[in-house]
């Protein structure tokens, strides 16, 4: 088990919130251990991406606490959260297409406000991702889909986050590229970054994860090691809409 026994990086406690009058998170609670990859899975509409928005200050929450390193960060702005060491890589393509790869990277540190240190951090990022160094001067729109995802991850790292939220990194990528992205995430984990991921490709995501969280209708239904969730036959049924009893432990 790769789980760190220290205090968790992030704790969600009874978070309630949604869009307008539509409540999507109904008392969501879970925690993310330090230097692990934790993957959230669950059927459509379970509130996986919404949970990320809640953490990153993009949702009006009506109840609950979000504890980052022992500090309640509920209601913090994205800029403040970056300062606290969280970065968020949303679903889809989120690069600035007409800026160069280099400039995209620099923007990852814009909230920190330092210019000099930034140069070396961008260099570091380019060292870490040789493919980006090759194309550092090219417009970001010329990168392939997988390279763009790597760019987004690299951009998130510029702020030296403790916790990275990454939403559906595999969407629209070829299996080979997905492998590449997942390997990158594992490397980051080994370097001490905690990663919380939402992934449709539940199986392959859990395979590289330490822990897993199953959400359904805005609630945590199951928490466990990635391996235990991977082996739980009830999960598949849950995805396909069957009534599943997750409260009693699985019989392997």
């Amino acid at each position: 088990m790769a789980t760190d026994t220290n205090s968790p990086v992030l704790m969600m406690e009874g978070v309630v919130g949604g869009y307008g009058r539509m409540t999507i998170l109904n008392g969501l609670s879970f925690s993310v251990a330090r230097a692990t990859i934790t993957t959230i899975i669950g059927p459509n509409g379970a509130g996986k991406s919404t949970a990320f928005k809640a953490i990153f200050g993009l949702l009006n929450l009506s109840a609950g606490r979000i504890i980052l390193e022992g500090k309640d960060v509920r209601g913090f702005s994205p800029a403040a959260l970056i300062g606290e060491g969280v970065c968020y890589v949303p679903q889809g393509r989120n690069i600035f297409p007409e800026l160069s790869v280099h400039d995209n990277l620099e923007l990852g540190g814009v909230a920190l406000g330092t210019t000099k240190a930034m140069r070396s951090r961008v260099e570091e990022a380019l060292d870490r991702f040789p493919i980006l160094r090759q194309k550092a001067r090219a417009q970001a729109s010329t990168l392939s889909g997988g390279q763009q995802k790597l760019l987004e991850i690299a951009r998130g790292l510029i702020a030296r986050p403790k916790l990275m939220l990454i939403d559906e990194p595999s969407i629209g990528l070829s299996p080979l590229m997905v492998k590449d992205v997942f390997a990158t995430l594992q490397r980051l984990r080994d370097q001490g970054v905690s990663i919380l991921m939402v992934e449709q490709n539940a199986r392959s995501a859990l395979e590289i994860s330490d822990n897993g969280i199953v959400l359904e209708t805005g609630r945590t239904r199951l928490v466990g090691t990635a391996q235990s969730i991977l082996n739980d036959p009830r999960i598949a049924k849950l995805f396909l809409g069957a009534e599943v009893d997750l409260e009693t432990p699985a019989s392997p």
Binding site: P78, Y88, F96, L99, E106, L107, G108, V110
Partner: protein
């Protein structure tokens, strides 16, 4: 014939450089905040009047220019955004455009009442150089130089500085920019101030040849819209190319075509571009998803 050709080209480039400055500001606004400013031409006349007023109080022209920069940044930048764009944009971009048409009426009549109906002379650079049959006037040369310097400076600012990149990021992806902690609202405000600076510079350059008159904004505004669209609405570099192209084409058409229809030329270019290449010369086609 050759000398005529060269002169038409050079004077076209000079006037096109001014269009380019105004069109660049126009593009900045439309990218940064979907503001299609139908009063952009009048925005050039306002700082010209401010410079004249400051000049008439004995300030040298460079100091008047700085005064005008400050006034324009406050009035045409900050106040314009706060009092008009911010409250109206939520109702729709088209509503905002219509409001800028009304603003054009307000500005023209305001200047008429404040400054009078007469045209005013504006200090410029006289003289020029003769190369055989070709005459190149210093004013045109200075316009071209100043425009090149301004556009280069703008490009450096946008490309090489942290704020410049943040502005570009805010225009290309406001949602993502916000996630990276960029203060998008402030970046948009900066584009308004940049636009104010561009029109002030344009006023300094065009006024010696165009004089200063309350309704000068009509002609210059039409040219600037056309230039922005020809170059590519969603592209700052495009506005420069569009401005220069328009200046040159307009000059050639007026020199060699029927002068009664000289104003039709930019309009025809505008129509052709919108219908057949709406992304403009340099613009990228907007991605449309079903």
């Amino acid at each position: 014939m050759m000398s005529l050709f060269v002169q038409v080209l050079i004077s076209g480039l000079a006037i096109g450089a001014i269009y380019a400055l105004i069109a660049t500001g126009f593009s900045l606004l439309s990218q940064g905040s979907q503001t299609v400013n139908f009063a952009q031409g009048d925005f050039v006349v306002v700082p010209a009047f401010v410079m004249l007023a400051a000049n008439s109080y004995g300030l040298p022209i460079w100091a008047s220019f700085i005064v005008a920069l400050v006034v324009a940044a406050l009035v045409l930048g900050v106040l314009f955004k706060r009092l008009m764009v911010d409250p109206i944009l939520p109702h729709g971009a088209m509503q905002l455009s219509i409001a800028t048409m009304a603003l054009s009426i307000v500005l023209q009549n305001g200047m008429l009442n404040a400054g009078g109906a007469q045209a005013f002379p504006f200090p410029g650079i006289n003289g020029g150089l003769h190369f055989g049959n070709i005459f190149i006037d210093w004013q045109s040369v200075s316009i071209l130089l100043a425009a090149v310097v301004a556009v280069t400076a703008l490009n450096l600012f946008m490309g090489r500085t942290r704020i410049g990149r943040a502005i570009q990021a805010s225009a290309q992806g406001p949602q993502v920019a916000r996630l990276l902690g960029i203060n998008v609202a402030r970046m948009v405000l900066i584009t308004f101030v940049l636009n104010a600076a561009l029109v002030t510079l344009a006023a300094l350059l065009v006024s010696p040849i165009y004089l200063v008159k309350f309704d000068n904004g009509i002609g210059i505004g039409l040219a600037a819209f056309s230039a922005a669209i020809i170059g590519g609405f969603n592209q700052v570099r495009g506005a420069v190319v569009g401005g220069l192209l328009l200046g040159v084409v307009q000059n050639f058409a007026a020199t060699f075509g029927p002068t009664q229809y000289r104003d039709a030329v930019p309009m025809l270019l505008l129509i052709i571009f919108i219908l057949f290449r709406p992304q403009g010369l340099l613009g990228r086609a907007e991605e449309r998803r079903v």
